[in-house]
Amino acid sequence: MAKLVARDIPGGSYVNLGIGQPTLVADYLPSDKHVVLHTENGMLGMGPQAQGDDIDPDLTNAGKLPVTELPGAAYFHHADSFAMMRGGHLDVCVMGAFQVSTAGDLANWHTGDPDAIPAVGGAMDLAVGAKTVYVMMTLFDKDGTPKLVPKCTYPLTGLACVSRVYTDLAVFRLEDDQVYVTETFGTTVDELASRLRVPVLAGPSPA
């Protein structure tokens, strides 16, 4: 899945990879693609995770893991970092999700469980700020409930922000409230249509 996302990120893009699975996308971005990684805790030009002696507690990513810096990196403070996001300067942001709606609404910060301790971090800022938001998630949760839904039931992160959804079974493009299936993995568009509660169309592959 990370490989497909990496394939679809245009060369020369400025990209933010969310905590968890999205960080794997970095492994599939060849250096000649000139993708520059942003981490919202104040850096552009982030390199791979740090190992051994390269670990510096003052150099971490948004998941608080030690990372490295690449030539051409830049550091900045939190207001500047989020101004960069909110101002629409990032080309792509890749995030996980609990639910995505056909309109592109995103729910990925809270399950609505009243006992859960809420934490939002930078997710809402990324959702409204990046020019395009890609989501990586399993298409169904453990009990088989679809996570691509007509309307999110979990608390929202952002409205109409997701344009592509990468899942274990298919890749979806969301446009004008329509869901296009652009690729399938071991399943068919008809089969997906029968398992999801949203109408899907066989569509063109992402540009």
């Binding site: 981490t39 670990i55 507690p57 989020f82 301790i117």
Partner: protein, 236 residues
């Protein structure tokens, strides 16, 4: 002109009950461990802490929360794998939480330092975190109104201070330091070294001295790599 304090207690001497304390750091990067240790030895209670996280493990901010002297925390991401102290206080109803999206948190702190009365942000529109906030459509897009967060004291971690109070930072430990320094009545910076005025290139100053009141040298700790033993270099 800054005051170089001998220890954290001296730097925190005017902390009062009910104060709002801005605490720099993102996770442990940029967390002012020495100042937080000093805070443990202060009497001030009923504090409001503004910080991106709500502490982890048992040291630093977590240790401060454990004293019970923090009434409220304003942050974006309280829950971490080892945020045991906060989790317990929260579940026991012993601490109030104001959850703010990280960019709105940063911008509200900046606004306080910049004399901005409020601003319209698109972040959070249509979400539960916009509940009760004014929504306004400007040029076809919805925004919510957010207000500044002022601090009584800012406790931040920097790298080098010069005697004019100018600061530099190290890598992503910069995070909230520069904006918190602008937003508090008194800003205290924990630094690795103090150098003479002029030793930092004026082009490379990140926080100008006007925003800094006191500095203390960091004491080496096992936890934070940034908390290397500090040294006061010879001054002219």
């Amino acid at each position: 002109m800054i005051e170089v304090c001998g220890d954290a207690e001296a730097a925190l001497r005017d902390l009062r009950d009910g104060a709002t304390v801005l605490v720099g750091g993102f996770g442990e990067a940029g967390l002012p461990f020495g100042l937080l240790d000093g805070l443990l030895r202060c009497d001030a209670a009923g504090l409001t802490v503004v910080s991106n996280n709500a502490g982890n493990g048992h040291s630093g901010l977590a240790a401060v929360l454990a004293t019970g002297r923090v009434r409220k925390i304003i942050c974006s991401y309280p829950r971490q794998v080892d945020s045991w102290v906060f989790d317990r206080l929260y579940r026991e109803g012993k601490i109030e939480l104001e959850l703010v999206p990280q960019g709105n948190l940063a911008e509200r702190i900046r606004a306080a330092g910049a004399g901005i009365g409020g601003f319209y942000t698109p972040t959070g529109v249509g979400t539960p975190l916009a509940a009760g906030k004014e929504v306004r459509n400007i040029a076809g897009r919805d925004y919510i109104l957010e207000l500044p967060i002022h601090g009584d004291v800012a406790l931040i971690r920097a790298d080098t201070a010069d005697e004019a109070g100018n600061l530099t930072y190290r890598k992503t430990a910069r995070n909230f330091g520069p904006i918190m320094a602008t937003a508090a009545k008194v800003t205290v910076a924990e630094v690795n070294r103090v150098v003479p005025a002029g030793a930092i290139d004026p082009e490379n100053v990140v926080t100008p001295g006007i925003f800094v009141n006191r500095v203390v040298l960091a004491v080496g700790t096992a936890k934070a790599g940034s908390a290397r033993s500090g040294s006061r270099e010879t001054t002219r």
